[in-house]
C-alpha cells in the first residue's frame, strides 16, 4: 500500500506531468509526420526525448519540492526506512516511463500503419534502450534532487551532461589520444549515463556486423543492459545514503 501510494505520487505530484506526457506524444507524432523518412531514425529521436529529456522533466523537484516545503521532515519521521521513499519514487518514475514508451510505440505503429511512412524494424530495441537510459538519468536526477533545492536537479543534470560532452570534445581536440583523455573517456563511458553504449546497443552495432567487437554480440547486448541497470542502482544507492544521513530543516523556502 505504501509502495503503491509513493509510486502513485510521482504521477500527480506536479500538475504539468500530464502535460509533459501529452506534449511528448505530440512531438513524436509531429516528428514522424514531418521528417520521416528523410530525417535521422525515429529511434534516435525517442532515445533523446524519451530516454534523456523525459526523466529530467518528470523528476524535476522530486525531492526538492518536499525539502523546500518542509514536508520532507514529516516523511522521514514516518515509521519506515527512508530509503523506501527514494526507491518507490524511482520505481514510480520507471513505471511511468514504461507506460509512456509503450504508448509511444503504439502511436508510432499506428502512424506507420496509417501513413505507410518510416521503418519500425528496430523500434523495440530503441524503446528498450530509451527505458534503460531513462532509469539511469532518473536515478541520477533523483539523487541530485536530494541535495539540490527546488527543481534545479534537472537543470543541473542537463548542464552537467552538456558540459561533460563539451569538455570531452575539447580534450580530444586539444590533447588527442593520451592517458589523461583516455582516463576521462573511461569515466564518461562507464561511470556516466551510458548514452553511447545504449545508442550502439539500439542501433544494432553489437549485432552480427558489429563495429568493434565482432564476437560475443549477444553477450555484449546483455552486458549493456546489466551495466545500465547497475549504474541506475549505483546512483540510487548514493541517493538513498544521502537521504538517510541528511538532516532536514523545518524552515520552509
Amino acid at each position: 500500500m505504501r509502495a503503491y501510494e509513493l509510486m502513485k505520487e510521482t504521477f500527480y505530484r506536479r500538475s504539468y506531468i500530464w502535460i509533459v506526457h501529452v506534449s511528448w506524444f505530440a512531438l513524436y507524432g509531429l516528428y514522424w509526420w514531418l521528417f520521416l523518412p528523410e530525417g535521422p531514425d525515429f529511434g534516435k529521436f525517442v532515445f533523446v526525448w524519451g530516454g534523456f529529456l523525459l526523466p529530467l522533466a518528470l523528476s524535476a523537484g522530486i525531492f526538492g519540492d518536499d525539502i523546500g516545503s518542509g514536508r520532507i521532515c514529516v516523511l522521514v519521521t514516518k515509521p519506515f526506512w527512508s530509503g523506501e521513499l527514494y526507491l518507490f519514487r524511482l520505481l514510480g518514475l520507471s513505471f511511468q516511463a514504461v507506460v509512456h514508451l509503450l504508448l509511444a510505440g503504439a502511436l508510432v505503429l499506428g502512424l506507420h500503419a496509417v501513413m505507410d511512412k518510416g521503418n519500425t524494424t528496430d523500434l523495440g530495441l530503441w524503446l528498450l534502450a530509451s527505458w534503460l537510459l531513462f532509469n539511469t538519468c532518473a536515478a541520477l536526477s533523483t539523487t541530485l534532487s536530494v541535495f539540490v533545492g527546488r527543481a534545479f536537479n534537472s537543470l543541473l543534470l542537463l548542464v552537467l551532461v552538456a558540459a561533460g560532452y563539451f569538455v570531452m570534445g575539447m580534450l580530444m581536440r586539444m590533447l588527442g589520444d593520451n592517458a589523461m583523455t583516455g582516463a576521462f573517456m573511461s569515466f564518461v563511458r562507464y561511470g556516466w549515463p551510458p548514452f553511447t553504449l545504449l545508442h550502439k546497443f539500439a542501433a544494432g552495432e553489437y549485432g552480427p556486423f558489429a563495429l568493434t567487437v565482432g564476437k560475443f554480440s549477444i553477450a555484449k547486448d546483455i552486458a549493456c543492459v546489466v551495466h545500465s541497470l547497475m549504474l541506475a542502482a549505483a546512483y540510487s544507492v548514493l541517493g538513498i545514503v544521502i537521504l538517510s544521513r541528511r538532516e532536514f530543516s523545518r524552515v520552509r523556502d
Binding site: E38, R173, M174, G176, P208, L211, T212, A219, A223, H227
Partner: protein, 429 residues
C-alpha cells in the same frame, strides 16, 4: 539481523561481480578486440570474395545506382555506368542540397565537372578558390593502365561521400587493399531489399579496417558494403548498390561530354606547392613519441633527417616504411635519422603495427590540434595527405619534400645524396 546482513553482503558481491563482467564485455580492451577482429581466412568465404571481384571484372558493361548515407543524415546518390576497356561515367547528387558532380571518361580524356559552384577543395588556397568557381571543368588525358577514377572522385569535394569499392576494379585493376587482407570469413545470410545475400567480413592490415560485403547469390555482385576504419576515431561508411545491370547496352552518348559554351577549364593546383621550399628553414617542433617521451626535431641538428608522415591505412606507407627501416638500421648511427610522424591513428593500432612490422625508427604519434598545426601549418600539408616526405639537411634546411611513394625511392636517395648522406642503391638487410 545477521542473516539479513549476510544476505545483503551476498547481493552486493553478486552485483559487483555482474557489473565487473558487464564492464569486461563492453570495454574496448585491445588485447581482446584485436584478435577478435583480425579475421581468420575461411576458404568458402574467400571464394565468395573472389567470385564477387571476378563478377565485376569479367563484365563488359556495368551499371548501377548507389547511395552512400552518412552519420549526419547526408546521403550521396551515385549513378555509375562503366564499359570496357576504359569508358565510364559517374554522377553523384548530394541528397540535401541537390548539387551534383560528374566524371566522364570517354577513352581519351577524363572530364570532371560540377553543377553550380565548384566546392572548395583541400588543395585550394584563396587564389585557386576564386578561379573558375562556376561553370568549370577539369580535363586530363587518360594514361595507359587503370583510369584512376578514385582520384577523380576526390575532386568532387567534401559535400559527397566517396564510394568504398574502387570503380577501377571493373577496369581490371586490383583493389589496392587486396594484398593486405588478413582473411575473409562468412557472416551468414542477410537479405537486402528482398535480394538474398551472403555476407562476408574482410579485415585488412591487422584489422585497421574491416569491410562487410553483402553479395547477392543471383549475380555475385555486392548489394551493400560497409567499411569500418579504425583510426583515433572509428569511422563507418556504407555504400549500397541498387539495380546493378551487367552487359546490357549503354548508349554511347553516356560516355561523351564536351564543355558547353562559356565554361572554363580549371587546372587543379598541385598540393606540393604548399610544401616548404628547398633551402627554407624546417620549423622545429616537439611531439610525443609513440612509446615514451617526446621527440624534437632540434635534437637531430647535425644529422640528415628524413621526416616521414604516414598512417596505418595507407598501403603506400607500408612499402616505403620497409625501405626506411632498412636505412635506419644501416645508417642510423652514421648521420642519418629517420623520424616517423603519425597524426591520425589510434595509439594501440600504431604500436601493434610498428611491432608487427619490426619498425624501430623513432616515431611520433599525436592526433591533437598541436600535431595538426605542425603538419598543416608549419609543414604545408594542406590536404593532410600521406605519405609525405621531407629530407632536412644537417643545417636544418629543407633539401626536398614530396608526396607519395616511389618503388625505387629514387627521389629519396637523390635528396639524401644532395644532403650529403648518400645511401646504397639497394641497402641490404
Amino acid at each position: 539481523m545477521r542473516n539479513q546482513r549476510n544476505a545483503w553482503t551476498m547481493i552486493v558481491v553478486a552485483a559487483l561481480l555482474l557489473e565487473g563482467w558487464a564492464l569486461y564485455v563492453v570495454s574496448l580492451s585491445p588485447r581482446r578486440w584485436r584478435p577478435a577482429l583480425i579475421v581468420q581466412d575461411e576458404p568458402a568465404a574467400h571464394a565468395l570474395y573472389d567470385g564477387m571481384m571476378a563478377a565485376i571484372q569479367q563484365a563488359e558493361r556495368l551499371s548501377y545506382d548507389g547511395f552512400c548515407p552518412g552519420p549526419d543524415a547526408r546521403v550521396s546518390f551515385y549513378t555509375v555506368h562503366q564499359a570496357k576497356p576504359d569508358r565510364f561515367r559517374i554522377d553523384v547528387v548530394n541528397g540535401m542540397s541537390s548539387k551534383s558532380a560528374t566524371v566522364v571518361g570517354d577513352g581519351n580524356d577524363v572530364w570532371t565537372f560540377w553543377s553550380g559552384e565548384r566546392p572548395y577543395l583541400t588543395i585550394d588556397d584563396d587564389q585557386s578558390a576564386a578561379e573558375a568557381r562556376s561553370d568549370a571543368y577539369v580535363r586530363r588525358a587518360m594514361s595507359a593502365g587503370p583510369p584512376g577514377i578514385a582520384r577523380d572522385i576526390t575532386l568532387f569535394g567534401r559535400p559527397y561521400y566517396k564510394l568504398i569499392l574502387d570503380p577501377d576494379i571493373f577496369h581490371d585493376h586490383t583493389d589496392p587493399l587486396e594484398p593486405y587482407i588478413d582473411g575473409v570469413r562468412s557472416r551468414g545470410r542477410n537479405d537486402v531489399d528482398d535480394v538474398v545475400c551472403d555476407v562476408i567480413e574482410v579485415s585488412y592490415m591487422q584489422a585497421q579496417r574491416t569491410r562487410f560485403f553483402w553479395i547477392a547469390r543471383e549475380d555475385h555482385l555486392p548489394r551493400r558494403i560497409k567499411e569500418v576504419v579504425r583510426r583515433a576515431e572509428i569511422s563507418v561508411a556504407i555504400e549500397q548498390w541498387q539495380k546493378p545491370v551487367v552487359d546490357e547496352d549503354i548508349p554511347a552518348k553516356t560516355f561523351v561530354w564536351s564543355p558547353p559554351e562559356g565554361w572554363q577549364r580549371w587546372v587543379p593546383p598541385s598540393p606540393e606547392r604548399f610544401l616548404l621550399a628547398t633551402g627554407s628553414e624546417a620549423p622545429d617542433f616537439t611531439l610525443p613519441a609513440v612509446r615514451k617521451g617526446a621527440i624534437s626535431l632540434s635534437d637531430y641538428r647535425g644529422q640528415v633527417v628524413w621526416l616521414y608522415l604516414w598512417q596505418v591505412g595507407s598501403p603506400q606507407c607500408y612499402e616505403q616504411m620497409r625501405f626506411l627501416q632498412t636505412l635506419h638500421e644501416q645508417y642510423g648511427d652514421k648521420g642519418l635519422a629517420i623520424l616517423g610522424l603519425n597524426f591520425t591513428d589510434d595509439r594501440r593500432i600504431v604500436r601493434a603495427f610498428l611491432k608487427t612490422n619490426g619498425l624501430t625508427f623513432p616515431t611520433m604519434l599525436d592526433t591533437s590540434h598541436i600535431a595538426k598545426r605542425v603538419v598543416w601549418g608549419d609543414y604545408g600539408n594542406k590536404p593532410l595527405d600521406v605519405p609525405l616526405s621531407y629530407v632536412i639537411g644537417r643545417d636544418g634546411k629543407v633539401v626536398d619534400a614530396w608526396f607519395g611513394y616511389e618503388e625505387d625511392s629514387q627521389r629519396g636517395r637523390d635528396a639524401l645524396a644532395k644532403a650529403g648522406r648518400p645511401v646504397e642503391d639497394r641497402p641490404g638487410p
